[in-house]
C-alpha cells in the first residue's frame, strides 16, 4: 500500500454539499489582517482567510479597515478594539506600523491581541528597519505567509493552550479600550454614502431622460411614419408626371 495513512473515501453519494458543511464545527476566527505604515497609511502587507475571501462583505470591511488607517496618527491609542456589525477590529501600533485584524464577535479578544503581538515581533525583526524606506504598496506582501501560519496556530484546538499562556502575558487586556466603528468613522462614512446616493440619482435621472426621449421619438415614428413615407412617394410620382409633361 503506498499511501498508508487515511486512504479515506468520503462516501457521500446522497449528501449534497450543504450537508457536508454541517459536518464542520464552526471555529470563530480572524478573517482579515492588514499591516500599514502609520505615518502615511501606506499598505505594507495583508492576509485574508480563504473562507472570508469567498464572502461578499469582506470588501466592505476591507474598506472600513483602510479608512481606520487613515484616521490613525501618533496620538492614537496603541491598542484598541473597534466593534463593527458582527465583527470587531483589533489593532496594535508599534514603531510606525499598525497591525489590524478583523475577528468574529465570539473570538476572544485576548487571543486577538496576542496574535497581533506575535505578528509584531516577527515583522519588526524581519522588516522593521526597511519600513521607513518602502516606496510601493504591499512592499512586504511576502509576510502574508507568516500571518497565515500564525493565524492557523491560533485557530485550532491549541487555542486553549494559548489562552492559558496568554492570561499571564496580557493581564491588562481589560485596560484595552473598546469602541464602535461609527465613532471612529462616523460622519465621514455618512457623507460618502450620501455622495454615492446622489451620484446614483443623477445617473438614473439621466438615463430616464434618455429613455423618455427615445420613447417619444419612437412614438412619433410609429404614428406618422407610414404617412410620411406615403406622402413622399406621392410627391415623387407627381414630380415625375410633371417632369415628363
Amino acid at each position: 500500500r503506498v499511501l498508508c495513512l487515511a486512504h479515506c473515501y468520503l462516501y457521500i453519494p446522497s449528501l449534497s454539499s450543504v450537508h457536508f458543511h454541517h459536518l464542520i464545527i464552526h471555529i470563530a476566527m480572524s478573517l482579515l489582517t492588514l499591516l500599514a505604515r502609520l505615518s502615511d497609511s501606506q499598505m505594507l502587507a495583508e492576509s485574508m482567510d480563504n473562507a472570508a475571501g469567498k464572502s461578499q462583505d469582506i470588501d466592505f470591511y476591507r474598506n472600513q479597515a483602510k479608512q481606520i488607517f487613515k484616521t490613525l496618527s501618533i496620538k492614537s491609542p496603541s491598542r484598541l478594539s473597534i466593534d463593527s456589525g458582527p465583527y470587531y477590529f483589533a489593532y496594535l501600533i508599534e514603531n510606525d506600523v499598525c497591525y489590524l485584524t478583523l475577528c468574529e464577535r465570539t473570538y476572544p479578544k485576548k487571543l486577538a491581541f496576542t496574535f497581533l503581538e506575535e505578528l509584531q515581533k516577527e515583522f519588526d525583526t524581519s522588516y522593521g528597519s526597511e519600513v521607513a524606506s518602502a516606496r510601493r504598496p504591499y512592499a512586504f506582501i511576502q509576510f502574508d505567509t507568516f500571518i497565515q501560519k500564525t493565524k492557523k496556530a491560533y485557530q485550532d484546538s491549541r487555542a486553549q493552550r494559548n489562552l492559558s499562556k496568554v492570561s499571564d502575558d496580557l493581564a491588562d487586556v481589560h485596560r484595552i479600550m473598546s469602541t464602535n466603528i461609527q465613532d471612529i468613522l462616523g460622519r465621514g462614512e455618512k457623507l460618502s454614502s450620501v455622495a454615492r446616493k446622489s451620484e446614483d440619482l443623477l445617473a438614473k435621472s439621466k438615463s430616464y431622460e434618455k429613455a423618455a426621449l427615445s420613447l417619444n421619438s419612437m412614438m412619433f415614428l410609429k404614428k406618422y411614419g407610414p404617412f410620411i413615407v406615403v406622402g413622399l412617394i406621392v410627391m415623387f410620382l407627381l414630380y415625375l408626371r410633371f417632369a415628363y409633361w
Partner: protein, 733 residues
C-alpha cells in the same frame, strides 16, 4: 518611438482619410508583445515610481503621460496626445521648460518622458486586492490512457523538475488533483507526516472535501509534495480506468483555487467522456477538404458552451488554464478544448503520438519548465488607447474582452502577443501626428503591481506613396494570416486562402495603378517594402494552417490555428516561411558569439529544393521545431558525432532526437553550435530537433516547408507570381 519588439505597426504612418486607407487595401494594425524578452542582457525597461505624487494621467481619457505629450504654458500644463485635453501639472511634478527646445529641463532624468516603453509602480488604487502570490495548480489525468501513452510519468517528472524553479519566492502556492472517473484530492498540510488522499466519486454534484490544505505554500509543504510526486506513478500504474471525468474535475479544481486565482495546469490524455463536458466523437474524415471542414475547427456543442462558460468563470477569478494534451486515439476535439486556454489567457500544448522513449519526453519537460518559469504576469488587464483618427476594430490572441476594449488576462507571459486591428474613426487631414498608447496592468510573480506602458507616435500621411514606403511587410503578413484564420473558422478554408490572395492582388493592383503605369503590361510591379508579401502569402496558403487536401487532421490544424493567433511577428513568419541554413562552406565562427555578444548565424537561403545539394547538412528553423536534413552523401562520422547514433538508427526515429556537441567533426560542431544558438539566442526556448535523412518517408514533412516549389495542387513561387500578375492586370484594366 516605442521599440518594435514590443509594439509594431503594420504601417508606420497613419492614412489621413478613410478613402486613402480603403484605397491602399493595406490592413492597418498593431502587434503588441508586452512581456517580450529584451534583446540584450543589459537592456531593460526603466521602472518609475511616482510616489506620493501619483501617476500623471489625462483627466479625460486616462492616458499616461508620455514623451509625445507636449508641456505647454511654461510647464504648468500638458496636452494629452490622445484626446488633446490640456491637463494641469500637479505641483510635485512641475518643472520648467527649456526655452530652446520647449522640453522640460528634467527630461533626461524622467524615463516616462523620454522612452517609448516604461513601467510604473502601481499605487494601491490600481489593486482590487493585495497582489496575488504565484499559484500553480496541477490537474493530472490518471486513466489507463495516461499511463499507456507515458503521459503520467512524463508529467510527474516535469513537475518535479520545475518545483525548485517556480518563481514567486516564499509565497508560491502549489496543489495537485488527479482524476479518472472519480476525482482525487490531496491534503498537503505541512504538519502532517504524509500527504492524504481524498476520493470524491460523485461527479454529478462536485464539491471540495476540505476548505484548506489542498492548495499549500510550496516551501512549507515541499517535503509532502515531493513525497506525493514519488507515489503517484505507482498508485496508478496498474489502473484499468478508462473513463475521464474531465468536465467535473475542472469544476473541482476551480473551487479549490477560486479564492485566489493563478495558473491551472492540466495534463490530459483520455478523451473526456464522463460527466458534464463530455466530448462527442465528431471526427469525420469525409469532411476533410470540403466546405464543412471548418465545423471541425470550431468548438462543438454542448461541450463547447460548457467549456466556454467555465473559462469565463475562471477569467473572473483570475484563473488561467494551460492545457497539455496527449491524445492516444486520433480525435480529441482540440477545437473545443482549446477554448479553455484561449479565453483565460493560457496556452495550449499538443503532443500527438507522444513517444516517451524518444526525445518527446525531453521536449515536453522543457516545454513545461519554460511555461512555468518564463516571465509571467498575473491578474492582468490591458487597454489600447488610440489618438486622433484611429479606432480599434478587432483583437487577436488569448484573452477575454470586457466592455469593448479591456483585455482581461488572468495570465500573460513572455511568449504571448496580441494583434489589434485598427481603423479610422474620422478624417485627420489637418493633423501631422497621432499616437497610440497601450497599457498593461499586472502583478509580477514576486507580488509587485506594475503598469507597463507603450507609446508610439505616428506621422499622418495623405499620400499612397508614403503608406507603401512605411509598410512593414512582416507585420502585414502576420496580421493577414490571423485575419484569415478568423475567416476560415467562420466560413471555410478555401475562402480564407482566397481572401489572402485577393488582398495581395488588391494591394499590388493599387500600387501598379498609381506607380507602375510606365511598366509593360506583362510585368509584375512590386512595391519595394512589400516585395516579399506574395511569398509569405503563398507560404501561408501552403502551411498546415490553411492547406487544402485530406492529409491534415482537424485536431492538428485547430491547434496551430490557436497557436498562430498568439505568436509575435517573427515567430509567425518563421513558422510559415522558415529559415533554411546550408552548413556547407560555413565560415568557422558560425554559432559562436560575435563581437557584439550576439550569436553569428549564416545567411538564410530560399526555400527551394534547387538549393539543396547532394551532401551536407541543412537546418530548417520554424520556431516550432528544428529540422536537420541530412543529404544522402553526408559523411557517416558527421552524423555519428552530431546525433550519437548511426544513420540507420536515425532513419528509424519518428520523434525528436538528441544532439551532441559534435566532438571531432568540424561540420557537426558547426551544426550543434548553430542549433544551440537558435534555441538560446533567437527564440529563448528549447526547440525539438528532428533528423531527416534524404530518401526516408519523413522528408515529406521537411519538403512541405519548401513553399517555393510546386506542390501537389498549388503553384510554385514563380507560377504564383505569374498568376498574380494576370490577376493584377485584369483588375487594373
Amino acid at each position: 518611438m516605442c521599440p518594435p519588439r514590443y509594439a509594431r505597426m503594420t504601417v508606420n504612418a497613419v492614412p489621413a482619410t478613410q478613402a486613402l486607407l480603403t484605397k491602399s487595401s493595406i490592413p492597418l494594425g498593431l502587434v503588441l508583445h508586452p512581456l517580450a524578452q529584451p534583446e540584450h542582457e543589459g537592456e531593460h525597461i526603466p521602472v518609475v515610481n511616482f510616489g506620493s505624487c501619483g501617476i500623471v494621467r489625462c483627466r479625460r481619457c486616462r492616458t499616461y503621460v508620455n514623451p509625445f505629450a507636449p508641456f505647454i504654458e511654461g510647464g504648468k500644463r500638458w496636452r494629452c496626445n490622445i484626446c488633446d485635453l490640456a491637463n494641469e501639472v500637479p505641483p510635485e511634478y512641475y518643472c520648467q521648460l527649456d526655452p530652446a527646445t520647449g522640453l522640460r529641463t528634467d527630461v533626461a532624468s524622467r524615463p516616462e518622458l523620454a522612452r517609448g516603453v516604461v513601467e510604473f509602480v502601481a499605487p494601491s488604487e490600481y489593486m482590487v486586492r493585495p497582489p496575488q502570490p504565484a499559484v500553480y495548480f496541477f490537474v493530472i489525468d490518471v486513466t489507463y490512457n495516461a499511463i499507456a501513452t507515458g503521459m503520467l510519468s512524463a508529467a510527474i517528472e516535469g513537475i518535479k523538475q520545475t518545483l525548485s524553479k517556480l518563481p514567486g519566492g516564499s509565497r508560491t502556492q502549489v496543489g495537485i488533483i488527479t482524476f479518472d472517473k472519480t476525482i482525487h484530492f490531496y491534503s498537503l498540510k505541512s504538519t502532517q507526516s504524509r500527504p492524504q488522499m481524498l476520493v470524491v466519486p460523485d461527479i454529478e454534484n462536485v464539491f471540495v472535501p476540505l476548505p484548506d490544505d489542498l492548495l499549500v505554500n510550496l516551501r512549507e509543504s515541499r517535503h509532502l509534495i515531493d513525497d506525493l510526486l514519488e507515489k503517484i506513478p505507482n498508485m496508478f500504474a496498474r489502473t484499468q480506468q478508462v473513463e475521464s471525468a474531465f468536465g467535473p474535475t475542472l469544476k473541482a479544481a476551480f473551487n479549490v483555487i477560486r479564492h485566489i486565482g493563478g495558473k491551472m495546469i492540466i495534463f490530459q490524455s483520455a478523451v473526456p467522456k464522463a460527466g458534464v463536458g463530455a466530448i462527442v466523437d465528431r471526427d469525420d474524415p469525409k469532411l476533410l477538404n470540403t466546405d464543412k471542414e471548418a465545423v471541425l475547427l470550431n468548438p462543438s456543442d454542448p461541450a463547447g458552451t460548457y467549456y466556454k462558460d467555465f473559462a469565463l468563470d475562471c477569467s473572473r477569478q483570475q484563473i488561467s488554464i494551460d492545457l497539455f494534451l496527449f491524445p492516444s486515439t486520433s480525435f480529441m476535439d482540440v477545437a473545443t478544448l482549446g477554448t479553455l486556454p484561449q479565453i483565460t489567457g493560457g496556452e495550449l500544448f499538443y503532443y500527438p503520438n507522444f513517444n516517451p522513449k524518444s526525445q518527446d519526453n525531453e521536449r515536453f519537460v522543457r516545454d513545461l519548465v519554460h511555461d512555468l518559469t518564463r516571465e509571467t504576469g498575473f491578474e492582468a488587464v490591458m487597454r489600447v488607447r488610440c489618438g486622433r483618427g484611429l479606432k480599434v476594430l478587432a483583437h487577436h490572441g488569448n484573452f477575454f474582452i470586457r466592455s469593448t476594449d479591456l483585455l482581461v488576462l488572468p495570465n500573460v507571459d513572455a511568449d504571448k502577443s496580441f494583434t489589434i486591428q485598427l481603423g479610422l474613426s474620422e478624417s485627420i487631414s489637418g493633423v501631422r501626428y497621432t499616437s497610440i498608447q497601450s497599457a498593461l496592468l499586472y502583478t509580477t510573480s514576486n507580488g509587485e503591481r506594475r503598469i507597463r506602458v507603450f507609446t508610439s507616435c505616428l506621422p499622418v500621411t495623405s499620400t499612397l506613396g508614403d503608406m507603401f514606403k512605411h509598410a512593414d511587410c512582416l507585420a502585414i503578413a502576420s496580421l493577414t494570416g490571423k485575419m484569415a484564420i478568423d475567416k476560415g473558422l467562420s466560413s471555410k478554408l478555401s475562402d480564407a486562402r482566397e481572401a489572402m490572395v485577393n488582398k495581395t492582388v488588391e494591394i499590388l493592383a493599387v500600387y501598379r495603378e498609381s506607380f507602375g503605369s510606365n511598366s509593360a503590361g506583362s510585368q509584375l510591379v512590386l512595391p519595394e517594402s512589400l516585395r516579399l508579401l506574395p511569398l509569405y502569402v503563398l507560404a501561408m496558403i501552403k502551411n498546415v494552417l490553411f492547406r487544402s487536401g485530406t492529409d491534415t487532421k482537424p485536431d492538428e490544424r485547430a491547434f496551430h490555428m490557436y497557436r498562430f493567433k498568439t505568436l509575435p511577428v517573427e515567430e509567425c513568419i518563421a513558422f510559415v516561411y522558415p529559415n533554411l541554413y546550408a552548413l556547407n562552406n560555413m565560415p568557422p565562427n558560425i554559432g559562436q558569439r560575435g563581437e557584439d555578444g550576439r550569436i553569428v548565424f549564416p545567411p538564410a537561403i530560399s526555400l527551394s529544393s534547387e538549393k539543396l545539394q547532394r551532401s551536407g547538412i541543412f537546418v530548417l528553423d520554424t520556431a516550432f521545431g528544428i529540422f536537420v536534413y541530412i543529404a544522402r552523401d553526408t559523411a557517416p562520422n558527421t552524423i555519428q558525432q552530431l546525433f550519437g547514433v548511426s544513420a540507420q538508427e536515425l532513419a528509424g526515429s519518428t520523434g525528436p532526437v538528441a544532439i551532441f556537441d559534435g566532438g571531432d567533426d568540424e561540420y557537426a560542431r558547426g551544426a550543434y553550435a548553430l542549433i544551440s544558438g537558435l534555441q538560446t539566442d533567437r527564440w529563448h526556448k528549447y526547440l525539438p530537433v528532428y533528423a531527416i535523412i534524404e530518401g526516408t518517408p519523413l522528408d515529406a514533412v521537411f519538403f512541405s516547408y519548401f513553399v517555393e516549389d510546386r506542390s501537389r495542387n498549388v503553384y510554385s513561387y514563380y507560377e504564383f507570381l505569374c498568376q498574380l500578375q494576370r490577376s493584377v492586370s485584369a483588375k487594373v484594366k
